[in-house]
Symmetry: D2
Subunit: 354 residues, 4 copies
């Protein structure tokens, strides 16, 4: 089968691999649609290390090709998705409500991010087939009424973006700001609206993203090239600050802006993947006495999460159609990486179809 | 009346002041016992700015001398305490569950720490009398069975230390580490035990504090002069890390150690008052993907909080007697400051009696 | 001034009363719009006892006529609302997060429903003027952009209905059923949608209400005259049951239906005012082993709640316009009671303007 | 092997059965200690229906005899326990945080109590061997320092009793009443203390139980034969009522007493197994307007829960030694049932050793 493989920093190439064997608790999925994530670009650039030869990608939409002999409750030919994060279901972390952080190693105790396996510790989804581990925990049937593209955001960015709103514990009537309106930030905006935030302020500078931001729930969209977002948010909130600030970029500057606009007692919900140490400025942090919270979220996975997210789309609470800006065959995936890594042509998400 | 007054950095002196007038919603309390807090030393050193001439101190135990004309439900001569933080009860912050951050100013929106008034924005408790604002929100009658010294920790360090355990959302069976076993850290240890933590690991180096730490609930006490606390905690937890780490000192080094020992998905509950920007190391923070939480707590106040804390003492869940290491009259308060600021003679808390 | 007064069971009449004196912490409000609530009809019928001569009504929209001498932060002439429930802000219940249950009496300990004062323990709002107690806790300025009618639902039914969704702890992706789509049930539907429920099933039989129900967020509306709602809900949910069932009528039959459709581990959020003992059928309750929750909510009040609700309307998350079906002057209030008590002419809510 | 088998109502007998085959995800445990639960007596009496021929018992302490071929991370000969409730780990209920209610059937949707399998839907633990399903989710290694009897309460009554305190969301400073001090009620008392309740009032009449109740954390123990518990609790709480009332018997009368002593806004945490419809009296329920909560809990299971409970014992937070009042060999189990079912000789729990 064909698969997009990490060769070395700077090179992800399409190559041939054998179709994997199916273990007792696994399922083999024939991929019908997948996509490329910002994290994959970190891998491409060598910023996030993975083994050479690994198949990349963690957003599977497909059809069950073969079920392991212990896997019950599904049938071959069934359309399914699985989350980017594949919890085992049986680890102590899972049973303690932390399924994304599912992982253990004799040497180092709990391994963080242990639930993220596709394209990280096992072969990923940018291929003709992918093996889903702990299939009964992870396979979620797709409702007939939904197309592949409609559910393509569920495995990662929708789950992650919504988690930003959920971990921030947004309440009805909250004022929420979201920094950066890339795919994750846009999903966080949709999530904030779904949780009942009634003043949603978003920050970006690209007109196409700002337009979708409005459509996804923003009451006010700030162009950071025109005004200072911190000042503008304090003006809009009449000096009150926001209840929850969501960081969706991964930079010190946006992290810091979030702290500056937080009301005393507010929550910074961080979704960004950072590449440097972060600084918490003393003043914005009120010397540690401001009752502030800083919370982080790794994309929740598992079949129940996927069921809920697909239900959100089926009930027309949100339409993620506008996020798919480009479509490529798997054969053209190197070209797709080039477009996506360089953020050309207004790209948001690319549907890849083997 | 006599009052300990901030004159300038380096000088808090005992001086004469008029007994204050009692407003409609106030109560005048004759102080029978009060104490000196680490924050007062920050004020003394000029590290935390207050107005010149202000009476210092925020931990009142006393007797009602006079009630404002709107204050109902109390009688003159009643023994009472009030929290270090005096919420109004009627601010939007209070009504939104954030009573410590109760404060508003036309110019700057919500003022952080607004609930802290004694010895900060109004005259404090190191005096013969103190005026308690919003008396019906703040005055808590002392049960007859409890002495002044038994309730002396309620207004600040007990409330703060317990808040560290509560904000960390400690659950039955949790493993918790607490860095520093000064008065606040010791109260956090007691709070962690009361919340059901079943492995409590504390870190200090002073033998007297380490001994009280055991008595207050520590299962393991680490002397940071003998071993590396991070390595030792990872050893004790078999590489699993802790569910909750409580920072009770206010330094970058302890803040960072807390992050290092946190399990993926764990919570850093910060109680320290910091005097510099903080750094979050990328690795300990798992690039923002570890589902970590960082939460901060300002001492909860109000009469219901005080009632609950006094009930904890009355029910003999904890005996804070060992924390009062020294006793001085108000006349000797300058001497008491000298002892406390220089942490001489194994001092933990000093009872000051006018 | 004119006021609608409870004379005896069966008689609420418009009569003359003196304009009340303004105490130090009170505010006198000139009512510009108010309404009649189902609870008022209980009072009218003698089912809920109040003192003879009491002015009825608990939903004030008006203008500040006079402020008590301790009331700061407002100005005469300001447009304001107050919640149906007027918490003091300073009671132990308030400080413990239970502001609706704010009340104490020497004889009986905590008095339930103590926060409900208008038209219950003090004169109410169906009058030319009403005295708002603890004004700084309760007065919420109306944004200029909103009309009286737009905010008329905030004091009671919107706050109550939303509380049904909030107390049920609805999460994104939940399936929720709401029994009865009167004013409270319709607001619960809107609240469920705002909290992120993605399958909302409502039950009623009046076509006008069923139509508004759809508009307010229902995905499926069941006419209980056509089908058995329990069977229909189990069919729609494929036998899974609902995560949260909201009872918004106050009858044994709807309470029981809610239990029957609850998934194991689900929550029954009860808003109804019952007039008889309730029975929990053993089977639906799984003998007490189903991890079920039954929660009840009294309308949350206080100025911060009102601010949040008005923000919800200002941000166009919901338009309660369709709920005002009739308009009367205060002079015609007896006629309005007659219409409302008999639920004639498709009445939902009546705007009363003095 | 020998096993205690349900033959018909009134008869549980010791008989021979084949040692079961070990499936891929199972583990075969050689029982070293087990016990009899009140639920087993319900089965004996025919009040709770199970299949004829089923082995009874759901509290396993033992040694791994054989592991299924997919079961990793354990070794044969290892000492382990498993919870009375064996969640799969992979069901939607598990992944939604409701692992006790793990069960699904095509015909009836979610099956309540689905997580309870031992001695209910599969062969139980009163035998020489038991098969543990989903072994990686359920097997918890016993620390070397703990004896069989020390961990014998973990699988059921400790987990259940603690859940009563946890579901009641007990906070530091809460006043809690617990009705009935049988094994479950005593564990609830211990759990309430561990969660920080500072006034714990328990109700029973047997002197031996009342004595252990004090030892497990009760501040006040009421003998319901001497005084009316409702009146006495209202007297002790000065008319305030309790924050949380725990029902640990399963009768209408105790359920009703719990409601009567609840403060407005309080929580009734129900642990009892009821055998009749329950009535909620209108007055105690404040017509549904008292912000009351009624919550129920089925014993939480899974290896992480077991790990936490064993850690509680290892850390000497509680010693359940006093609960084992009798010891029998498996050969004598019919005699043990006779003693236990008739509650003779002050029996609390019986250790059964094959």
């Amino acid at each position: 089968m064909k698969a997009a493989i990490f060769v070395e920093p700077g090179r992800i190439v399409l190559d041939e691999k054998p179709v994997p064997d199916v273990g007792a608790n696994d399922a083999l999925i024939r991929i019908t649609t997948t996509t490329i994530c910002g994290t994959d670009v970190h891998i491409l650039k060598g910023e996030y290390p993975v083994a050479k030869g690994l198949t990349i990608g963690h957003e599977p939409v497909g059809v069950i090709e073969k079920l392991g002999r212990n896997v019950l409750g599904y049938h071959e030919g069934e359309r399914v998705i699985a989350g980017a994060i594949c919890p085992s279901g049986y680890s102590n972390a899972c049973l303690d409500g932390l399924s994304s952080q599912d992982g253990q190693s004799a040497a180092h105790g709990l391994k963080p991010l242990g639930g993220w396996r596709f394209g990280n510790t096992i072969d990923g989804t940018q291929a003709e087939y992918v093996l889903v581990p702990d299939a009964m925990t992870n396979l979620a049937p797709i409702p007939d009424s939904l197309t592949d593209e409609q559910v393509l955001m569920c495995p990662d960015i929708m789950s992650t973006g919504f988690a930003g709103a959920e971990s921030g514990n947004i309440q009805i009537g909250d004022t929420v700001a979201i920094f950066a309106q890339g795919p994750i930030g846009l999903c966080a905006t949709a999530g904030a609206k779904l949780r009942g935030a009634t003043t949603i302020i978003t920050v970006d500078s690209l007109p196409a993203r700002m337009k979708i931001s409005k459509r996804f729930g923003a009451d006010e969209v700030i162009d950071f090239n025109s005004v200072d977002p911190v000042e503008e948010i304090m003006r809009i909130t009449k000096g009150r600050g926001v209840d929850v600030a969501i960081e969706a970029l991964g930079l010190q500057s946006t992290f810091e802006s979030c702290l500056k606009i937080l009301k005393p007692g507010g929550t910074l919900s961080s979704l960004g993947v950072y590449s440097e140490d972060l600084t918490i400025p003393l003043e914005s942090f009120h010397a540690g006495l401001g009752d502030h919270k800083i919370v982080t979220s790794l994309c929740p996975g598992g079949k129940e999460r996927m069921r809920r997210l697909m239900n959100t789309i089926e009930s027309e609470r949100i339409d993620f159609g506008p996020l798919v800006t480009h479509r490529y065959g798997l054969d053209q995936i190197e070209e797709a990486y080039d477009l996506f890594a360089n953020q050309r042509d207004g790209v948001l998400k690319i549907a890849i179809t083997p």
